[in-house]
Structure formats: C-alpha cells, structure tokens
C-alpha cells in the first residue's frame, strides 16, 4: 500500500477517459458517414489482480479499484432520416439513413471527458506532492 498504487489507479482513469475521447472523436468525424453507428465506451471497475499485483491489500482491493473500458458499445438507436432522393444511398422512398450521432451531445460528452481527465491528473499530482513531502522528512 503506497502512493504508487494510488497513482496507478489514477492512470487507469486517464486511459479510460482518453479512450472515451477517442470514441467521441470517431463519432464526430463520422457524423455524416452513411452506415456508421454511434460508439460508446463501457466502463467497469477493474479488479484485475495482474494490473495491481499484490501491491494493494486484500481489503483495499475490493474498495479501491481502477477503471477499465471493457468494450466499445454500439448505440442501436434508430438512424436519423434525411430526405435526399438524389443520394445514391437513398431508400426507395427517398430517405437516407444518416448516423444516430448528435454533435451537440458529443460535444457535451467531450467536455465532460476532458474534466474527468483533469480530475485524475489532479489526483496524480496530489499523490506526487505527498511522496515528495515524505522524502523531504529526511532532509
């Protein structure tokens, strides 16, 4: 049990939030791509013993967990229909199935992911400052 395991936990948070940002970037990039479905990361608490080794105590193991993106989920909500009969992908009734991506929601999620990333950075910096303070005792 040390400050390094705290930093490791925050690092899992950083990588999960980066993955989330990547899916948001993909959604925004493909907002007009016909046939694309909105992607969403699924986050689960990580109890992976391999990742944390024996560093965390058993007691802490179940309570202090990292986070892991277990899968990228495809949003199955219906596509947005756009009337455009001249489009080669148009259905017989003249509608084109556009992706179920709403740029406004994606942008809001992007800001949330950014803030969450920063919160993890703050936690890492706090752990780092505490470790430095402990080293300072001996001086």
């Amino acid at each position: 049990m040390d400050l390094l395991s705290s930093m490791r936990i925050s690092a899992t948070g950083l990588s999960a939030q980066s993955t989330r940002l990547e899916t948001i970037a993909s959604n925004l990039a493909n907002a007009e791509s016909i046939g694309y479905k909105r992607k969403d990361p699924v986050m689960v608490p990580s109890t992976d013993r391999e990742a944390f080794g024996e560093i965390l105590k058993d007691k802490l193991d179940e309570h202090a967990q990292g986070v892991l993106v277990s899968e990228i989920h495809e949003d199955e909500s219906p596509p947005q229909l756009k009337y455009d009969p001249s489009n080669p992908h148009a259905r017989p009734d003249g509608y084109v199935e556009m992706p179920n991506v709403n740029p406004v929601i994606e942008t809001a999620n992007m800001v949330a992911a950014q803030r969450a990333y920063e919160a993890n950075i703050t936690a890492i910096n706090a752990a780092k400052a505490m470790a430095m303070k402990a080293l300072d005792i001996g001086k």
Partner: protein, 122 residues
C-alpha cells in the same frame, strides 16, 4: 523518569501518514470511477478510531481505517454515487493534512538534532 528519544507522537504521526496514504488511494479510485455505471463511492474512516486510541493512551499502531460505501449520496441515473466535487475537496484536504503530519515529523526531528548538537549549529 525515563527519557525516550522517540515518543508516542512519532508513532501517531507515522500512523497518520500511513492512513492518509490509504485514503489517497480510496479517493483516487472514486475519481477514476466517477463515470463507471453502478460504481458505489467508498470512503475511509479513521479519524475517530485514531483520536479514541490517542485519548485512552492505547497503542496507535493497531488503529485501522474502516473502508465502507458512502451513504446518503445522490444516486445518478446510471447507479453511480460519486460526488466529484466532494472528492476533489477530500483530495485537497487529505493532501494538506498529510503535509501537516510530514512537517511535524520533520520539525520534531530537527528539534532532536538541535539538542544532540547541544544547541549549537550542526
């Protein structure tokens, strides 16, 4: 009267540093899982146990923190109960108190050094 070079205050401060480190891990875990559906925010309680042990003159070495799920938190739509702002405040508070304990250890050691050197500079 016996004079101990390292008194009980050192033990108490060492224990405080240890428990604050543990608390930092619990808070980091809550922050990392602030977007995990169904995650229940945890907290480490030790201040009461610590002051009780110190008040009764018992050994602080055996004081243990109690990790449990935070109660009375707002449950979000996805079942997550992490209050991000409260966690950031706990993080800052925990860090400050850790720094304070580390500073006290340092000051006590400096005082010891001062008397070892017979009050002169080292």
């Amino acid at each position: 009267m016996s004079i101990k070079v390292f008194d009980q205050t050192y033990e108490a401060l060492a224990k405080a540093l240890e428990l604050r480190t543990e608390n930092q891990t619990v808070i980091a875990s809550n922050i990392a899982n602030a977007d995990t559906p169904g995650f229940q925010a945890q907290e480490l309680d030790f201040e009461k146990a610590m002051s009780k042990a110190l008040g009764s003159g018992r050994d602080v070495e055996n004081v243990e923190g109690d990790i449990h799920t935070q109660v009375n938190n707002v449950v979000r739509e996805d079942g997550n109960t992490v209050d991000r702002d409260a966690e950031m405040v706990s993080l800052a508070q925990n860090q400050l108190l850790y720094d304070a304990a580390a500073d006290l250890v340092k000051k006590k050691l400096a005082l010891l050094k001062y008397s070892i050197n017979d009050g002169g500079s080292h």
